[in-house]
């Protein structure tokens, strides 16, 4: 081990190769509280060349590694259990922005919001907007296929990545591009997006930039029942309106936000609010606004108000985006959940989740991407209280089973990581999990990158019998 640390220090400098327990403590967790794993060491290359050299040195040493961006992940995906943690947050160069082709090429450590800020002078932005966008990195977004409120209209990370240069875990460098109709090829880039650090490390990423909309209209609809808010969500989508974002927050979330520094002016006596944003060309936008207001009222909204200016809009959004943080005031820990259900099932699912919460005596705070049916039922709790932890765990398991039973999925944007491994076998039959393992084997046959994540390893059949498989 000291030998490896020496080798890595030679590449990145001693300052960026951490081996002391106290230094490594900061890298023992991602943003999902309650899970800690200490890496054997943490190495943080400062350039793309150093990154390649580090991966090759790790391969030569037979040492598995876990790539990490800003550590804002919510699935325990960036935990390194006694293996090397490869921190990419120093690779923060925006290599090019091309306003003509509306693309940018960036290093993986570039912060999501920093890219949009850099594109602003050209009237462009990077569309995927996870709530952690002021901290999370493009490389991490790529690894997780990150979403965000505006993905309802604009699509998730997959839909915005055009190319990536990737160091495979064996040190080989490959260029992955989205296949075009003229030149058919396997969609290796599509396979890489969302591979949660298990397929290698992207050292540069080319993304599409989106023109800033001509007009944006943000509305807050106030409901006295969460069921009405869920019905309004389905009705808006069914009417053929595609809002830029359609977010739901329940009473528990509203109260948490309103008693925090992120207070957004949400009505504290509401059972639920919908944050609806429509954007696009100035022409025709008013019709969409009128339709949204009419539908919300028909579904029982007490009031629908519009943000009068950019400041008010920013405030309404800040409350939503900092809601997870605001929940931090309620208890020392927060169990964060992420599941997707068919949109038409939202109202009955929310009612059954409330029943599960009551039965286990836990407080569920719902704040989620209603337009996509992407739920985030979060539960504030004290991990030091064994009884409460057990109840939270039991409630979360029931909620996941419920989502699976109605044809939903166990994660819409946070990833499987280590937190949701157990649910993968509930979602997919063994042969499907094995096929996923084979896809990983094409990129990382020795399973050096982020070992033990995403697919339970006992589900992977050995395939090495296939002659010539490595060639």
């Amino acid at each position: 081990m000291p030998e490896l640390a020496t080798t890595l220090s030679h590449i990145v400098g001693t300052r960026y190769c951490l081996t002391r327990a106290t230094e490594l403590l900061a890298y023992a967790t991602d943003a999902l509280p309650g899970n800690r794993r200490r890496p054997r060491l943490a190495v943080m290359p400062g350039t793309r060349d150093e990154t390649v050299a580090v991966v090759r040195a790790l391969y030569a040493a037979g040492m598995p590694f876990v790539p990490r961006g800003a550590g804002t992940g919510l699935s325990g995906g960036a935990l390194a259990d006694n293996v090397v943690l490869l921190g990419l947050q120093r690779l923060r160069q925006i290599i090019t922005i091309d306003p003509e082709s509306r693309t940018a090429t960036v290093e993986p450590g570039v912060v999501n919001a920093a890219l949009s800020k850099a594109a602003l002078p050209f009237g462009l932005h990077y569309a995927p907007d996870p709530s952690s966008q002021t901290a999370c990195t493009i490389g991490g977004n790529l690894a997780e296929n990150a979403g965000g409120p505006h993905c309802l209209k604009y699509g998730v990370t997959l839909n915005h990545v055009l190319a990536a240069t990737v160091v495979l875990p064996n040190g080989e460098i490959v260029s992955l591009t989205a296949p075009s109709e003229e030149t058919p090829a396997y969609d290796l880039l599509g396979a890489f997006v969302g591979s949660e650090g298990c397929f290698g490390v992207a050292i540069d990423i080319t993304v599409r930039l989106t023109p800033n909309p001509e007009h944006v209209h943000t509305m807050l609809a106030d409901f006295s029942s969460i069921d009405d808010a869920a019905r309004a969500t389905s009705a808006i989508i069914a009417a053929g309106i595609l809002p830029a974002a359609l977010e739901l927050m329940d009473a528990a979330t509203i109260q948490a936000v309103e008693s925090s520094i992120y207070a957004a002016g949400y009505p504290i006596d509401a059972a639920a609010v919908l944050l609806v944003e429509v954007d696009g060309a100035a022409d025709g936008l008013d019709d969409d606004v009128e339709a949204v207001v009419r539908i919300c009222r028909a579904c029982g909204a007490r009031m629908v108000r519009s943000a009068s200016d950019a400041i008010e809009r920013g405030r309404l959004w800040q409350g939503r985006k900092k809601a997870f943080g605001a929940m931090g005031r309620l208890a020392p820990h927060l169990a964060v959940q992420d599941a997707v259900v068919p949109r038409s099932q939202l109202a009955p699912i929310l009612a059954r989740m409330a029943e599960i919460g009551t039965r286990h005596n836990v407080r569920i705070c719902n704040v989620f991407h209603a337009g996509d049916g992407n739920l985030h039922p979060n539960i504030p709790y004290d991990a030091g209280n064994a009884d409460e932890s057990a109840r939270v765990h039991a409630a979360m398991s029931e909620i996941m089973e419920l989502c699976i039973s109605v044809g939903g999925t166990i994660t819409g944007e946070h990833g499987v990581g280590s937190d949701k491994l157990a649910y993968m076998e509930r979602m997919f039959p063994g042969d499907s999990l094995d096929a996923m393992c084979r896809l990983r084997d094409a990129f990382d046959p020795e399973r050096r990158a982020n070992p033990g994540k995403v697919v339970p390893s006992h589900r992977c059949k050995e395939w090495h019998a296939a002659p010539g498989a490595h060639t």
Binding site: V340, G412, D431
Partner: protein, 308 residues
């Protein structure tokens, strides 16, 4: 010889046998692939997938649909039109072609820029691969990151890794106003072309805009027409887009059915050769999903075009 499995179990048996005996298979779905170019696949045995047909699940409120891979584009259109929705692909080729082949060949269409490509539209896939495994990726919800992305792997793999049996897709609501126009400007009128390019890039972008070749214009009955434009959206949006379009050149309204006739002309033929999957990473994938190399073995250098 033609094999026609009736269900996934029979398909798995065929896959096992083909692997054991190293029998190359040519995948056929609806058979709309032009006869003259099927020689691109080297196989004396055809695997007919036409029995994997029919809509499995369609919940209009979810804007999602799951169907057997041999379900035709026309069937999907008819079912979704009844709820004022559509499958956003509107792909190149005959509407008697199958959903499965559209995804297997990643065939886009004139609305791809505005409504998305097969990789954007697919949310889940079920397939039997060259090892005989029945696998599925994704699911039936519009947002899903559970597991490695087998859906993206299968889209555009041209049947070289296995046979798609079922696909789940996201749908869209049809626009309130959907109108089509022919646009006339002098060939070589640079100013008109740059105005059209600006319209396509701008906030009033059409659903589709296609520059026509002389031959295609004549085939559609619009000799001299320069472009076909499709505008979609609410009334006020389309009115503004129409006004912007008229700045480019002379326009005439035309029936929206022009698009299915234009798509059937297949103005953007795709072609594939074995070279398409020849890079080291792709070869490793091929080896892991089709170890006996029997599924849709394409000849080197000769092109297979279109879809089946």
């Amino acid at each position: 010889m033609t094999l026609q499995p009736a269900n996934t179990g029979e398909l798995q048996t065929i896959a096992h046998d083909a692997r054991a005996r190293s029998t190359p298979l040519r995948l056929v779905s609806r058979g709309t692939w032009p006869a003259g170019v099927t020689g691109g696949v080297v196989a004396s045995t055809s695997l007919d997938l036409s029995l994997f047909t029919g809509i499995v699940e369609y919940v209009p409120g979810d804007l999602t649909l799951t169907a057997g891979s041999a379900t035709t584009i026309s069937e999907i259109d008819a079912a979704t039109a009844a709820h004022n929705q559509w499958c956003p692909l509107l792909p190149w080729g005959d509407d008697g072609g199958s959903l499965g082949a559209t995804f297997a060949t990643a065939t886009t269409g004139p609305c791809a820029r505005s409504l998305g490509t097969p990789r954007d539209v697919a949310i889940g896939v079920q397939f039997v691969d060259g090892t005989g495994a029945l696998a599925r990726g994704g699911g039936r919800v519009v947002k899903n990151v559970a597991g490695f992305d087998l859906t993206r792997l299968m889209v555009g793999s041209w049947g070289t890794l296995g046979a798609i049996t079922e696909i789940s897709i996201r749908l869209r609501a049809r626009p309130v106003v959907d109108e089509s126009w022919t646009l006339y400007f002098t060939p070589g009128d640079i100013a008109a072309q740059s105005r059209l390019a600006a319209l396509r890039r701008g906030p009033l972008a059409p659903l589709a805009s296609e520059i026509l070749t002389t031959a295609h214009a004549a085939a559609l009955g619009f000799p001299r027409a320069s472009a076909l434009i499709r505008l979609g959206g609410n009334t006020a949006f389309v009115a503004a887009a129409r006004a912007a379009m008229r700045e480019i050149g002379r326009t005439e309204p035309c029936d929206t059915t022009v698009w299915s006739r234009y798509r059937a002309l297949d103005p953007h033929p795709r072609a594939v050769t074995a070279n398409a999957f020849a890079d080291p990473l792709s070869r490793r994938i091929k080896m892991l999903f089709d170890p006996a190399h029997v599924w849709n073995r394409f000849e080197c250098g000769t092109g297979a075009e279109g879809k089946s």
